[in-house]
């Protein structure tokens, strides 16, 4: 399918005016920027899940009845005790939460990380394709500039 797309766009490339080429280039640049932003959001989500895994490991090592402070509001903490360091509550999405132990929680994070990696790879591919197409456009634009320069040189020579 991408070859078809390339052919569809390659054929009219020669016939497009420089303005149209510039327009397409602008559009592509905006798209690439948006997609790169999404890619960085993916990286943020990645690091959050990795952090959760580290915290889960630490929880495993925390002894029972450990003293802790529980946040009630953003500025109010209440002293408490860690009753069950093994049990964690996982937000599955759409309002569902499941009580699991730290091992299962870590596996959950792994699965999510896997999904994220797959989506990130797809996104990187698309960004690369668009960048390649932009390079082609730039080459085409340079050709036009050279053509115009050649014509101008010829005209100057004729005047002599």
């Amino acid at each position: 399918m991408s070859q078809q797309q390339e052919e569809q766009k390659a054929i009219p490339l020669d016939k497009l005016t420089p303005q149209q080429l510039l327009q397409i280039k602008k559009q592509l640049e905006e798209e690439v920027q948006q997609l790169t932003q999404s890619l960085s959001q993916f990286r943020i989500a990645n690091s959050k899940y990795e952090e959760s895994k580290i915290i889960l490991k630490k929880l495993d090592q925390t002894p029972k009845n450990n003293d802790l402070l529980v946040p009630i509001t953003a500025s109010l903490y209440v002293p408490g005790r860690l009753i069950n360091p093994q049990s964690v509550m996982i937000d599955y999405g759409t309002g569902y939460f499941v009580e699991r132990n730290t091992e299962q929680g870590s596996q959950f994070c792994d699965r999510k990380l896997q999904l994220l990696k797959e989506s990130q790879d797809k996104l990187s591919n698309i960004i690369n394709q668009k960048k390649q197409f932009m390079d082609k456009l730039n080459i085409e634009l340079q050709k036009r500039v050279l053509q115009v320069q050649q014509i101008q040189q010829q005209q100057q020579q004729q005047k002599k």
Binding site: T94, G95, Y96, F97, E99
Partner: protein
Amino acid sequence: MAEQVQMLQSKIEDESKLLQTLQREMQKYVEGRQKLIEQSHENEMVKKELDLLEPDAKVYKLIASVLVQQTLQESKENVSKRLDFIGKEFKKVEDLIKENTNKQITKKTSVQKMQEQLYQIVQAYQQSLNK
């Protein structure tokens, strides 16, 4: 001639306004469709995770700041129902989008025709003046 021109111009204006309303409608439909896709993805993921759970796993549902315990069975059914509902809504929106596209095409062709008519009338009048 002047009457004809005025009539055509006001018709073109009316049809163009209708076209604009159609386009705004279309935008809403497309936004709604996008939301449905997102919701469907999220629910699919939850369904997959729920399927991995053992039957006695403790599942809670967030109902207005309160976590209420549910059975795994109930939750799975709930998520399936939601997915079905989203599927139906999605189909509805797709049909509406199709209808809207067709209506836009008919409107655009009719506006184009009227503009051509207008052009021809003005041309004919100018030619008659030149004679």
